[in-house]
Amino acid sequence: MSSFDFEEIHRSLGYLFFDGMRFTLTLTFLAALGGVVLGTILAIIRQSGSRLLSSIAAGYVNLVRALPLVLVIFWFYFLVPYLGQWLTGATRPVHVGGFASALITFIAFEAAYFSEIVRAGIASIPRGQEAAAMALGLRSSQAMRYVILPQVFRIMLPVLLTQTIVLFQDTSLVYVLSITDFLGAAAQIAERDGRLVEMYSFVAVVYFVFSFTASQGVRRLRAHIAVPH
């Protein structure tokens, strides 16, 4: 193998970023969004009055957190077509694309982590805030929506974003589905051209730059948004 070939990287930039990174960022963004929404619902269910619903949600969170992500991605990809068949009553397994399957998996997985963050956030709001909201005549759902959750998201935003940075890295696990994410795109070129060192080094640098820049941003944000009580 010849010396480090920068030209190889330069030639591949278009494919790496427009195909690979775009997929990675799209998946990260949508999975984070879906994860936060589903996670918030789980968190609210867990601290609701219903013991049954609460323990179902708790069971789900504990189950997901006890499984390796890569296993779930793989398993889900093969299971979803049959699940779809069963749900729709179709005669054949329903074809689900790699993107949809990966997205659903990440949302389901991240929701468990986000729900723990939101739950901790809800617990950190003084009980008197809810009492004050109730005393003004707000219903529980209104108190949650207008008083508790806005404070939770403000306090927890840095943690939620940090978790999203982890998610950004974790999306590379979709390579088990042979999907062209950023890592997948690089791996294809590396295999094709026999330039493994260049490609994997470049991928590492890019992941580092993206993640490090983002966490520095989060750090600044953290100092910025401390809510005075």
């Binding site: 008197g128 109730m134 005393a135 005549g137 707000l138 005075p228 009580h229």
Partner: protein, 247 residues
């Protein structure tokens, strides 16, 4: 005589199976009356006031507020709470909202008041408590006394039939107590029905019609102001007064 605004009949409450924190408590507050509830800490006075708007459930007895039994079937607790103003020891303004929005939130979401009307009402009340200049500020930028004045205005914005004060000045620095008491005195003199849990005997002397003394989960004494301060009927009240009025 008109129907009482608050009627508490033989209320028993305990947090867990064990010693009740309220033990057969009965108390009536008529329209326009200012009733101060005092007593040593742990006597159940804060618990009692929280039961009045059902923030705390009771096990036995009956509480009727503005003609509505809190325990009756089909009672709309949020609706009822909207008519009972409450001021907390730790203010409990919503820190993520500006002062004006703190006042408008429940007016809009609970009473269904149009935003413009809610703002007009809020501004009038902020003026009444001397906080007009702070309408666009966040609670975190206000002193404790200022926050509590805003909290009083927030409760008044719902046009309550009665105001409950749960140790409204206990968490304040001494130099801020009087600005809050001034607002409460003005409110009392305007004819508002008030139930006030406090240690501020100066406030009680000034505007209370009656003073209720609680001890160990019971109402030990319920007397008109003059009698309570001049010649308390019970030994326990006498002891309590001598302790807190020594200095």
């Amino acid at each position: 005589m008109t129907a009482p605004v608050i009627q508490i009949d033989h209320v028993i409450k305990s947090y867990t199976a064990g010693v009740p924190v309220l033990h057969d408590v009965s108390l009536t507050i008529a329209r326009g009356e200012v009733v101060v509830v005092c007593g040593p800490s742990g006597s159940g006075k804060s618990t009692l006031i929280k039961c009045v708007n059902a923030l705390e459930p009771i096990q036995h007895g009956r509480i009727v507020v503005d003609g509505q039994d809190l325990a009756s079937k089909g009672v709309d607790l949020p609706r009822l709470r909207a008519r009972v103003g409450m001021v907390f020891q730790h203010f409990e303004l919503f820190p993520h909202m500006r002062v004006l929005d703190n006042l408008c939130l429940a007016q809009c979401k609970v009473l269904g008041r149009p935003r413009a009307d809610a703002e007009a009402r809020s501004e009038a009340l902020l003026e009444r408590v001397g906080m007009t200049a702070f309408a666009a500020k966040y609670p975190g930028a206000l002193s404790g006394g200022q926050q509590q004045r805003v909290a009083i205005a927030r409760a008044l914005a719902m046009d309550p039939v009665v105001m409950l004060f749960d140790e409204a000045t206990s968490a304040l620095d001494p130099e801020m107590v009087s600005e809050v008491l001034d607002v409460m005195v003005e409110l009392a003199r305007s004819g508002m029905t008030m139930m006030v849990v406090t240690h501020e005997m100066g406030f009680a002397r000034k505007v209370a019609h009656r003073v209720v003394f609680m001890d160990q989960g019971e109402i030990a004494e319920d007397s008109p102001r003059e009698i309570f301060f001049e010649a308390p009927r019970t030994e326990r009240a006498r002891e309590f007064l001598s302790k807190i009025l020594t200095y």
